[in-house]
Symmetry: C2
Subunit: 366 residues, 2 copies
Amino acid sequence: MELTLDKLHDFARGAAFLGTGGGGDPYVGRLILQQQLAGGKRVTLIDPADLGDEDLVVPVANMGAPTVLIERFPNGPAAVAAVRKIEELLGRKAAAIMPIEAGGVNATLPAVVGALMDLPVVDADGMGRAFPELQMTTFSIYGVPGSPVVIKDEHGNEVVVQAVDDNTAEWLARVVCMRMGGKAEITLYPMSGHDAKTKSVPRTISLAMDIGRVISDARSAHDDPFTALTGFFGAADPARFCEVLFDGKVADLLRETTRGFAIGKLMLQHIDGSGEPMEIVFQNEFLSARIGDHMLATAPDLICILDRETAEPITTEGLRYGQRVKVIGVSVPPVMRTPEALAVWGPRVFGVDRDYVPIEEIRHPG
Amino acid sequence: MELTLDKLHDFARGAAFLGTGGGGDPYVGRLILQQQLAGGKRVTLIDPADLGDEDLVVPVANMGAPTVLIERFPNGPAAVAAVRKIEELLGRKAAAIMPIEAGGVNATLPAVVGALMDLPVVDADGMGRAFPELQMTTFSIYGVPGSPVVIKDEHGNEVVVQAVDDNTAEWLARVVCMRMGGKAEITLYPMSGHDAKTKSVPRTISLAMDIGRVISDARSAHDDPFTALTGFFGAADPARFCEVLFDGKVADLLRETTRGFAIGKLMLQHIDGSGEPMEIVFQNEFLSARIGDHMLATAPDLICILDRETAEPITTEGLRYGQRVKVIGVSVPPVMRTPEALAVWGPRVFGVDRDYVPIEEIRHPG
């Protein structure tokens, strides 16, 4: 499968959807990839099942707060240099590039690197969405070490982190990224084709393209894109729960770029002014949504904020007072809901004082 | 020349003197070295002139605020692991270990590493004293790159910084050190024997031993150690200026561990309560000493605070309200006073709004 110019808008929109607020502005992600495709480069997607077991697969990402990523764009050549460094450290050539997250620019940067290096991009990722920290991946959860983490800036500075565990890798890499100006290009979790097949969330790049296309098709047909999305996820195999959780407007916004993240919370009023507001907490990504004491959804389930007319995904740094939005919740695949996975990205990790309950059970108990 | 147990007290005291407040507690430095020597290990010093031009010389240091170093001791095995990593990166074996600074534990840690690895320790350093930041070395000033900087903690975490310049190496390594708990073992400025001969401050380890011995000899003979120190530096070849700048007690102390450093200032009252107080500003090391508008000494000249009876050096983290002290100023060798060197560690670098004036010209103008 090839990722061509005509699929780019849908892909970027879908990646922003899966980004659940994080992963950077899809407009930026689209631009950097468009530049390569318009210049004649090609992006080939490879299904994880088609990888050779011994292939070296190298995930690449742009690390940083989304509030910084809109001012400092992802740098393709720096990311390529990071891949080259991993190859040098391991003494092997990469056979494929992979995203670590399916959200925002981190879905598109691997495609840019694949185009520049003439390598296929694996149609899979380690988060099935976007998450704020490097250890929050199925790779880490199911045993692929994050280190060596190669961190590059566009000035030629390079840092290699070899940590005893992935939480420490995140802890060390984050400050390096902050000192590099709040964003850096990284490679990490270099792995075998076998691990890429068995320890990733598969087909999330094609899923992003599908989500983007569902939204644009509904718009073209003057259908309701929210109904289209619910239908799309319900028809998936296996089916995924998808429902509108709130229809309202941004009434209050507290957003701070601190500790290397965009952290804060958001209050939404009902569109007709009635009832209690919804509070959404974020650390780069939208992590929990509650109305009063009632928690409607938490990570790892997707909490997406979309324009209430066009269903265009809105990112953390794109939030503005008065925006009219719908919040939708989407369940995640079983591989992301195991006890091991919830220990890494369940609600308690993000300071929510309750155990994880699948979104479909919250919405339709019993 | 061998660094033996009987020389250890003098060496540690002299290293604390050259540390000008920084470089960590000499007691800690002495203990870690004593442990090796008592266990049968030996430390051989090598004069820089005796190095082979092609030898690989590896400087090692403990990075961190002195306020942290008294709680978390330097770790010999982690420093050895950092040397091994540099050897791996360069594909060569180290022929000798070298201090980057002659102050405190950073004078003794290289001796510990030399003992553990059975390698000689070069009788020279890159600062001729202690300075707070990694780029503040004659190595950097005269063209030896600081990178790769290998940073190790005692848990097995490792970070390698390859920066485009040494200020950036310091900027990146400092936060890594902070995240490693405020101290880390590092190797940096790997260099040839030729560079070690021509781009270091020579014979600063033997100088530390001499300074320590001058103080202990004066005590044993019931002579004034301050007179002895002045005489010792005056008789050096070339002669070095040394004078008591102030005789007083600690009247006020502002000390904060922040940005990875111990930063603050100190007010000293005259011992008889008369006259204006002296203000000494520090960032790990004592960097400037003034009375009112009159600046008495600035970096790179040495500003040492010693117990007013015993002349025992007092470190930044050892400062206490009410201590009775004498402040002495000592000139530094010409290699540390060139325009290139003053651009790196002259007073303006530390926020003092004036050009460098050699201490002997301030004290005896015209």
